[in-house]
Amino acid sequence: MFRARSIQSSLSFKDKIISLDYVLIFSIFILGLVSILAMYSTDGGELKYHTNSHIIRFFVFFIMFLILSFIQIRFWHSQSYLIYLIFFILLLGVKYFGLTSSGSKRWLDLYFMNLQPSELMKIGLILFLAKYYHRISIENINQLRFLFLPIVVLIAPLILVATQPDLGTALLIAAGGLTVAWLAGVRVKFFAISGLAFLALLPIAISFLKPYQKSRILTFLNPERDPLGAGYQIIQSKIAIGSGGLFGKGFLQGSQSYLDYLPEKHTDFIFTLFSEEFGFFGSLFILLLYAVIVWRIVKIGNVTRSNFGKLYCYSFATAFFIYVVVNMMMVLGLLPIVGSPLPIMSYGGSSMMAIMLGLGIVMSCKVYKDTPVN
């Protein structure tokens, strides 16, 4: 063990550079370029506000991702709880000092950017639980007293985010946390029980839902219920994607988005816009890029020696995959509109920051794959 440690600590800078996963970096870079093209199209083919700030954000956070890759995996492990705590405090801060926009309080004004801590919490929770399950022994995993802390750290931010209100992000945070618990070996029966409990509490939860949230769910079940109101987004998104056909209408030719039929085209519906302009093959290309990214993250999880690294990479890969498919299924009319951005593609600094942070940690798992964390 000592020997192994000495090998790891003696990694030269050149070794570290070589051990980076270039397929992953390349895929992310390509996706970033594609997202800039899409953003350029939402601005009507001009370099306007959204495109400019998206370009800046992408490159800033892409560089941050590369830099984070060289931070010791041990650091991430040792500071996991602290990171979670910081994010949690930021979430609390939103509750008291947050900015309100279109009826929900999600952002903190940091002067140079508006930070959405709930996005960061997606990573924070995974980090926390990865460390937690790394540390407890396999016998204890399914002991009730060891389940207590995970439930608390899961529920607490969930309540804060859901009451912002931002149901979509709350559910995505939960998805990440539950993935870690599942991978660590928490028994199926606990998931079943909590699922049943969730169902039992559902009527109460629904009574807490805002009218617009209820309407979204009803509208998902039948979009034609109110074609000019809540169903409008789903219908227009399906029209845009469907009318794209095999090859799409061409770059900057998406009439649905160009003529403002498409709602939220910078953020949640960026895939719709891309799909309208580049058609089925364009959509497949995006899907392929995401699949490669997920595959590379899982591969890094496979080669990482520590269970912390494995748990983190697998969970992040799964969460990332869920973010992608939830967004896509939403714009394809397969899920209700819950408001979840498409990683990297969507306009939004916090989401970009959180994803790049998550990817940075993944890359550090790759660089320090043989380093024991404790």
Binding site: S137, I138, T179, W182, L183, A184, G185, Q236, K238, I239, A240, I241, G242, S243, G244, G245, L246, S255, Q256, L259, D260, Y261, S275, G279, F280, S283, L284, L287, A291, V294, V298, G301, N302, N307, K310, L311, Y314, T318, F321, V325, M328, M329, L332, L334
Partner: protein, 644 residues
């Protein structure tokens, strides 16, 4: 080397990998689901979404087509189009409609009433649909509007075309155009695809009959619009197609001349070519101003039209029903000859009246005509002679002949205002009045009174068919170069009744239908009519034309409004001394020139008294005018024939 803790780690690591494998499988399933959805939307249902997207994207504005023109026989436009200046408004382009209207009122003449209607329309339709603020403004208003246009956001000055009638003389037969009504949209199928707001359609006369073809095809402007309905750019423009133009058989000069003759009278004149049925003139008086209907009718003008006792809106030539009076005597005599009831030289004695079952039947000549045969009966229009003939003939045989000659049915196609009239007989009375026929009524029918009802056009047709030797013709108002050699055809047929037709005549493809059994009978009637107009004692002798080129043969008539009482008869009350509305309608029918008949004419003057005094002088002038223009007409006709 392996510590217990490291063994634990390995087990844990294996557990993690196993569970990850399950998750990966689940991911693959979800991926396939998404790809499947993309295939279904972008490949299977592509066309559906494509059309939905286009529907989102494009919006069309319809453009009213230019109405076809109507020309007379000499290609003069009698219903044409003129350039008009209009004000359109697209409500969504205006920030403040109320303010805009206030400003517009200072530039244009718009009534408050019109503004209220406009506001109602704006509320009803989509904000991007244009409305027509005013469809006919003057040039000075139009130029002022253009000057202030920068202050009038949403307002569009438009140069358009609208119907214009150069003259009022043909108002009735041409009809008029006016805005489409809600009822029109329900009843007229062709308007469903054609309708453009602000478009005019034919409401009466030829304008209505030809509406479907004369309207033309609408054009459209296709715009790309954004989600808020704002026009982004024009994609396509289709000007539409102007409506088909039509040439009629009318002679504008004769129309104008006749209309002037009839001024201040409630009267009607029809002139027809006796060989091909071409209607040369069809005038109803008093006339109205059809141009007033094009851009929304003025209320006062409308009131003045509907309150006028002379009924200027009624086309008296085809919608006015009058007892044919003595003009029917030609057919009574013909029917009696054809049925072998009388011989031309059979006589009756007229003592001024006859009595039948205690009822007295008077002749218009109180002292009687003495001994009367057929020729004298028609020449003097002796009522007693025709009472006797009618009694022998019976009403059913008379009605058969009358119907054959075109009475009692519509003779033009496609005019909703045309009325069929009545040719009474025993069956008709049983059916419509529910009573048996009395012999006395046969006597009244014999002089064209009682139940008989006919239009001036029917009487003109009747006369034409006598004049051409007894052959059926179909009156027509639209020019058709076919049947032009009918005259030769009839002549050939008369000269060689049993010969097959030479091929050059067959080309005309005309079905010749004789209305007689013995053409000699027709000639007897024509001769009697000649004597009525041109021999001393004839009822219209005073108004004859002596120049053989113009000499006509006619028959007078008057249709009774009110029966004379015995006291009035005894006092020899004259028509002129009766109140206007109680006076008889004056009638006159004729054909000319007698030696080579070409045209027939019917003249009606409502409450004009006797036909010989008021109707015949009008006929005389019109006949002269028509015959003077005959050579021109023939030339115009030949010219067209050559071109085709």
């Amino acid at each position: 080397m392996l510590s217990p803790s490291s063994g634990n780690t390995v087990i844990k690591s294996k557990l993690i990998s196993r569970r990850m494998f399950l998750l990966t499988a689940a991911k693959a399933v979800v991926m396939f689901g998404i790809v499947g959805r993309l295939i279904s939307l972008q490949i299977n249902e592509k066309s559906k979404y494509k059309s939905l997207s286009d529907k989102n994207r494009y919006r069309e504005w319809k453009l009213a087509p230019e109405r076809g023109v109507i020309k007379d026989f000499f290609d003069k436009e009698i219903a044409s189009n003129e350039q008009v200046y209009q004000v359109h408004l697209i409500p969504e382009n205006s920030k403040d409609i109320e303010k805009l209207f206030v400003r517009l009122k200072t530039i244009l003449e718009i009534s408050d009433q019109r503004l209220l209607i406009l506001k109602k329309i704006i509320k009803k339709q989509k904000p991007w649909e244009p409305i027509i603020v005013s469809d006919n403004i003057t040039w000075s208003e139009f130029s002022r509007l253009n000057l202030f246009l920068h202050e009038l956001e949403g307002v569009k000055p438009v140069v358009s075309v609208a119907r214009m009638y150069p003259d009022n003389s043909s108002a009735h037969i041409l009809g008029y155009v006016s805005q489409v009504s809600a009822k029109d949209l329900q009843t007229k199928k062709y308007l469903k695809e054609l309708h453009v707001p602000g478009m005019s359609i034919g409401k009466t006369g030829l304008e209505r009959k030809l509406d479907e073809e004369i309207i033309g095809k609408i054009g459209f402007q296709r715009y790309e619009v954004n989600a808020f309905g704002k026009r982004v750019k024009q994609i396509q423009i289709n000007e539409g197609q102007a409506g088909k133009s039509f040439k009629t058989t009318l002679d504008f000069e004769v129309q104008r001349y006749t209309n002037e003759l009839l001024k201040d009278k409630a009267a009607a004149v029809c002139v027809m070519d006796i060989y091909n049925g071409d209607i040369v003139s069809l005038v109803s008086s008093p006339t109205f101003k059809p141009n007033e209907f094009v851009h929304g009718l003025d209320k006062d003008y409308w009131e003045s039209l509907i309150k006028n006792k002379m009924r200027p809106l009624t086309n008296k030539t085809i919608s006015g029903l009058y007892p044919p009076g003595s003009t029917i005597k030609t057919l009574v005599a013909l029917s009696a000859l054809e049925n072998g009831i009388i011989k031309p030289l059979d006589t009756f004695t007229c003592k001024g009246k006859i009595e039948l079952y205690g009822e007295k039947f008077h002749c218009w000549e109180k002292d009687g005509h003495g001994i009367v045969n057929l020729r004298k009966g028609i020449q003097r229009s002796c009522d007693v002679y025709f009472y006797e003939v009618a009694r022998k003939l019976g009403v059913d045989r008379l009605s058969e002949t009358a119907k054959k000659f075109g009475l009692g049915k519509k003779v033009l196609k496609g005019f909703i205002e045309e009325r069929p009239g009545v040719v009474p007989n025993t069956k008709w009375k049983k059916k419509f009045i529910g009573q048996n026929w009395y012999l006395g009524e046969t006597l009244h029918s014999g002089i064209g009174q009682g139940y008989f009802q006919s239009t001036p056009l029917q009487l003109c047709l009747m006369t034409a068919q006598i004049a051409n030797g007894g052959f059926e013709i179909k009156p027509r108002i639209l020019f058709d170069k076919k049947n032009d050699n009918l005259k030769n055809y009839i002549k050939y047929k008369n000269d060689n009744p049993n010969e097959p037709l030479p091929t050059d005549l067959l080309v005309s493809n005309f079905e010749l239908k004789p209305l007689f059994k013995n053409q000699e009978h027709i000639n007897l009637i024509k001769d009697a009519m000649y004597s009525s107009s041109n021999e001393p004692g004839g009822t219209s002798y005073r108004h004859r034309l002596e120049d053989r080129k113009f000499t006509f043969a006619g028959k007078t008539g008057s249709s009774q409004i009110k029966r004379f009482t015995e006291e009035q008869r005894a006092a020899e009350v004259k028509q002129e001394s009766l109140p206007y509305k109680d006076r008889d309608h004056a009638l006159f029918v004729a054909f000319a020139p007698y030696d080579d008949p070409k045209y027939s004419i019917s003249v009606l003057v409502e409450h004009g008294g006797s036909g010989g005094k008021t109707a015949a002088p009008i006929a005389k002038k019109v006949i002269k005018k028509v015959l003077e223009r005959h050579e021109l007409r023939k030339k115009a006709n030949r010219h067209i024939g050559e071109n085709v």
